[in-house]
């Protein structure tokens, strides 16, 4: 492998355009945890993550257990957040809802991250693939995200896996575009050109130079996609094309609560707050990561 090490680590070229600062490691963590928004985001998201991970411990009742004699209870010691129209414990359903919502969100991030990176790398690195791949991505992005996700989910049928597939199909083009953008910039960098000139293979260049440089914007983007996915999943569930009841998801809890809005607004209130806090935590995390990892994006992102 005749890659000139000097060229890859030359401080000048890194400072010129590589998104990741060269002094990674401890200082990066210090800067992240000195960032107020990031810390707030971590705390918010940490709470929701704990709800999802420890749902079994935190729940005070089985989430699907009905109790006709305890319907529409207001919050009390036995039912921390009251009960719903079937007498199910809302607190416990909320905990298991966190598990489902975060699992779907995380799965979407995973699929989108892998597929988007792959497509973005191919389109950005190989000029011949750029046109056809990105035209297709453009066409997918021409649809409003949530509408296309709804259409796909309604065709595939209501289930958690199909919700993941539908949302991934919608968010992958957005990830691919970001990766492709970084690749186009990095590919023209002197040190990459030097690697090409010295005969390095495409796979090596992508792995060694292009991928690491795409990482920062990718992580930032995926954090926001996590937030969108949690919100979008609740919309799919609300419209009846997400994970179906009686398994609690925050979206289908709101959908069931809609019928009792006048008598028992709490049914719809709590899951909505949970969604909002999750999305808020992730948005703050994304903002913090962007400020620290990739300051250039600061103005671009809306």
């Amino acid at each position: 492998m005749a890659v000139p090490e000097a060229a890859t680590t030359a401080p000048g070229s890194v400072a010129a355009g590589a998104p990741i600062p060269s002094a990674v490691g401890r200082s990066l963590w210090r800067r992240l945890f000195g960032h107020k928004l990031f810390v707030t985001g971590i705390i918010l998201f940490g709470v929701v993550l704990a709800m999802a991970l420890f749902a079994d411990l935190l729940a005070t009742a089985a989430p699907e257990k009905m109790n006709v004699r305890a319907r529409f209870r207001t919050p009390e010691w036995q039912f921390l957040l009251g009960t719903d129209n079937y007498g199910r414990d809302i607190w416990s359903r909320l905990m298991y809802g966190a598990r489902l919502s975060l699992s779907i969100g995380f799965a979407v991030v995973l699929v989108t991250g892998v597929a988007g990176t792959l497509i973005g790398l191919l389109a950005g690195y190989f000029k011949r693939l750029d046109g056809p791949l990105m035209r297709f991505m453009d066409a997918l992005m021409a649809f409003p995200a949530i509408l296309l996700a709804i259409a796909i989910a309604s065709a595939l049928g209501p289930s958690a896996i199909n919700a993941v597939l539908a949302l991934s199909a919608v968010y992958t083009p957005r990830t691919a575009r970001i990766v492709r953008g970084t690749v186009l910039v990095v590919r023209e960098m002197d040190y990459v050109q030097a690697a090409v000139a010295s005969g390095a293979r495409d796979g090596w260049i992508i792995w060694r130079h292009i991928l690491p440089n795409s990482l920062a914007p990718l992580i930032v983007q995926l954090t926001f996609i996590f937030a969108y996915a949690v919100l979008a999943e609740s919309i799919l569930s609300f419209l009846g094309v997400g994970p179906p009841p009686p398994t609690p998801s925050w979206g289908n809890m709101i959908a069931e609560g809609q019928a009792y809005l006048r008598e028992a607004p709490l049914l719809a209130l709590f899951p909505g707050i949970a969604i909002a806090l999750t999305a808020m935590g992730l948005n703050l995390l994304g903002d913090g990561l962007r400020d620290v990892l990739d300051p250039r994006l600061r103005v671009q992102h809306g």
Partner: protein, 317 residues
């Protein structure tokens, strides 16, 4: 200018072709036999056959694609399975309501988003600035359909000052029309208000740092004049961008908001179609929305050239 318009129009053609293809392919994703899924498990063979014929599933996908495209040329999007009428008619009948709602929400977005963004920039790093950023954060984090439900509880049920649902056409009563749009409009607009305020703030901060603004201030022009004469024109660029993006989000958001507020627009038509697996309506609605968006983005691109003459010479954007 003419060349720019032509080039942008031509570049939209392949995207539109793919958009129509993707819309037509949605039914292909249905696992198993769509006719069986739609007719239900306890339908008779004859009923399933009837659905199959109505959907054209007795013909190959290639043939159906040809029919789809030849129909598109005549403005025919096929027949709805449940409404017993053509998809085009159903959508055209409901589109004005959705456009009214989206337009109202867009007006709210610009009327609130731009001023608070400008104020936040002028008062950067003060409590006011922070408050605007918090509003923006809430906007991107709160699910709009849930916000809609909570607004119904608050203003429709507890305080009973605004209608909790339904839609009054403008022709019947302009006042009731506005009243029926306020809550759904806010539910739809909050996200966009946050986005627009953030972008306006960022652009404004950028502009305020420019030399010509400093010069204008130095020669004694009051801040009000500087902002009005120099800065606002630059703020227009993100506003136009956001209008392009927002309108798409507002149109797609109408699917849930119209359901929440029982507004008889295209969004509710689609939500009903999703519920009853009326795929021709879903495909048609998807296509119409995406087409409107592609054309809107085209208009936005061209508007840039009008606002910012530099883009004209640059050739591409």
């Amino acid at each position: 200018m003419a060349e720019l318009i032509l080039r942008r129009l031509l570049s939209a053609v392949p995207v539109l072709l793919l958009v129509t293809l993707i819309s037509a392919s949605i039914m292909q994703l249905v696992p198993g036999d769509p006719a069986l899924v739609i007719a239900g498990t306890n339908a008779s063979d004859a009923e399933v056959q009837q659905v199959r014929r109505a959907l054209g599933l007795d013909r190959s996908f290639g043939v159906r694609l040809l029919e789809w495209y030849s129909g598109l040329l005549r403005g025919d999007l096929g027949q709805s399975l449940l409404l017993n009428r053509s998809v085009t008619d159903a959508i055209l009948e409901r589109l004005p309501v959705t456009l009214a709602l989206a337009g109202f929400a867009l007006a709210l977005t610009v009327a609130i988003g731009v001023p608070i963004g400008v104020i936040a920039a002028l008062k950067a790093n003060t409590v006011i600035d922070q408050a605007v950023l918090v509003v923006a954060l809430i906007g991107v984090s709160v699910p709009n359909f849930w916000l809609g439900l909570m607004l119904i509880v608050f203003f429709g049920v507890w305080f009973d000052v605004l209608p909790a649902g339904g839609y009054t056409p403008f022709a019947d009563s302009p006042l009731q029309w506005v009243r029926s749009l306020i809550l759904p409009g806010i539910s739809l607009a909050l996200l966009q208000i946050g986005l627009l305020a953030r972008i306006t703030r960022a652009t404004m901060l950028e502009v305020l740092r420019q030399d010509y603004v400093r010069t204008a201030r130095a020669k004694g022009l009051p801040l009000r004049m500087v902002v009005g004469q120099h800065a606002l024109r630059n703020v227009m660029v993100p506003v136009v961008t956001v209008i392009g993006i927002s309108f798409g989000l507002l149109l797609s958001g109408s699917v849930v908001i119209e359901t929440v507020y029982s507004i008889p627009g295209m969004g509710r038509l689609l939500a009903t179609a999703i519920f009853s697996r009326d795929y021709p309506v879903i495909q048609g609605g998807l296509l119409v929305t995406a087409t409107v968006l592609v054309l809107l983005n085209l208009v936005v691109d061209l508007l840039y050239a009008v606002i910012d003459p530099r883009i004209k010479h640059d050739g591409r954007s």
